[in-house]
Amino acid sequence: MPLLEVRHLVKHFVRKQGLWRPPSVVRAVDDVSFTIDEGEMFGLVGESGSGKSTTGRCILRLIEPSSGEVLFRGENVLGFDRSRMRAARRDMQIVFQDPYSSLNPRMRVGDIVEEPLVIHNLGTRAERLTRVAELFELVGLESSYLSRYPHEFSGGQRQRIGIARALALNPALIIADEAVSALDVSIQAQVVRLLMDLKERLKLTYLFIAHDLRLVEHICSRVAVMYLGKIVEIGETRALFSQPTHPYTRALLSAIPVLDPDAPHERIQLDPAAFDRAAPLREIGTQHWAAV
């Protein structure tokens, strides 16, 4: 049984357009299904605005999906009542894409990282403080910073505070939404090593939402590619990167910036009219599906 199974997830946002215009509907997530095995690093990539963050938020019920199912260890979390959901959140944590708005500006960062432990009544105060200091060190922050407020940090430092908080409870699943995007490559490598190490030692499972395709190729075992609310291609990382099949995936992989200023560039332009957006996923190779 996979740790997480998302079935036919749909989230539509209705946007009011003022008095005289009819409301418009944004199909942010439009029938998305995938599974993640325990101890897997699953990559979710795709166009900006294609519904990745919305998918992550729906899984944790930070927003309520319009329809679909989210099975965690075989149970549909969308059917959980409040107290069940609160208990389930101990096992499912998220690192938000936007660290600035997700950290309470009036709390000291040490308290922010400790908060989940307090909410779930874990450990004595002394044990919690030890844990918080340990988490700080793990993400490469000095423990002398614990009494600072979020605005006293750099963007990348704030992002690491969000990671420390998500790790505090030793969850089973982490939804990492652009969790390392603000880090320079060397600190990013350190944090990624940490995440991979926890995966190996504690079977921690990740939904890793990212724009950095080189990184995804490097660390994820499977990848799904989203475009306009749908998964257009999904499969084992090696297969997907070596044989991208959906036109969007091809355009995406061709746009990865080259590290050589003199290298010639062949970018594939996507022609949205050239493919059928309603095409279902079909198997195109071993462990590799595309909506073509």
């Binding site: 894409q97 750099s154 060397s186 003199d262």
Partner: protein, 265 residues
Amino acid sequence: MTAPLLDVKHLTVVFDGSPAVTAVDDVSFQIAAGETLGLVGESGSGKSVTAFSVLRLLQPPGRVSGGQVLFEGRDLLTLSEREMRAVRGARISLIFQEPMTALNPVMRVGDQIAEALLVHGQASKSEARARAVDLLNAVRIPDAAQRVRDYPHQLSGGMRQRVMIAIALACQPPLIIADEPTTALDVTIQAQVLELLRDLKAQFNLALLLITHDFGVVAEMADRVAVMYKGKLVEQGPVRQILREPAHEYTRSLLAAVPGMKGAR
């Protein structure tokens, strides 16, 4: 040689407190009109604080304790707040690293773009509204005519970042400071946004201080690169030289950590 557009001399910034932190330590660099300087460095090394200091947006307890910021012949550090307001947005604009720190959560994004034009008297109300749609189109936001009516929370992370870019471009300033402008963008849209910036550079001789940790973006955009480490500029030079023959140990270790770097060389 003509004077550079921006000439930062011995900039030093401290955060008062116990202990006081010197976040930027004797930093000097220049940017010529039309030039792109890539600023890279460790997380927490002082890149954003440098950007904020140039525009005098530092909040206490942060303060510039020394140095000069010469721009178009004046030291920005000596201007009155009123004079400075005429510089921000119109002569130098900033694309903030975290869009939500800069966007107004209760104002429609189209109005926020239009406001940038109105404040500097660069358009009438109706022109500004039309320009807002054009600018959202230019940064590749689909259905721009409808999206101008969205509030920031209704947009995805990358869309908010593109709204920030649109605001920064609104007045076509000669210098844009872009602090991690494409971290929330997928590579196809990133490529289009970088293309747009390149076009503007060619058309209007736009200069760019491009803060990024993405060496792919550096390789594609920068003429020169400056490397920061613990508040200091440790290395500066033409992009090819920095990428191929980094002199400083920190730059070398940074480049060694880039996934795929060795394959590219």
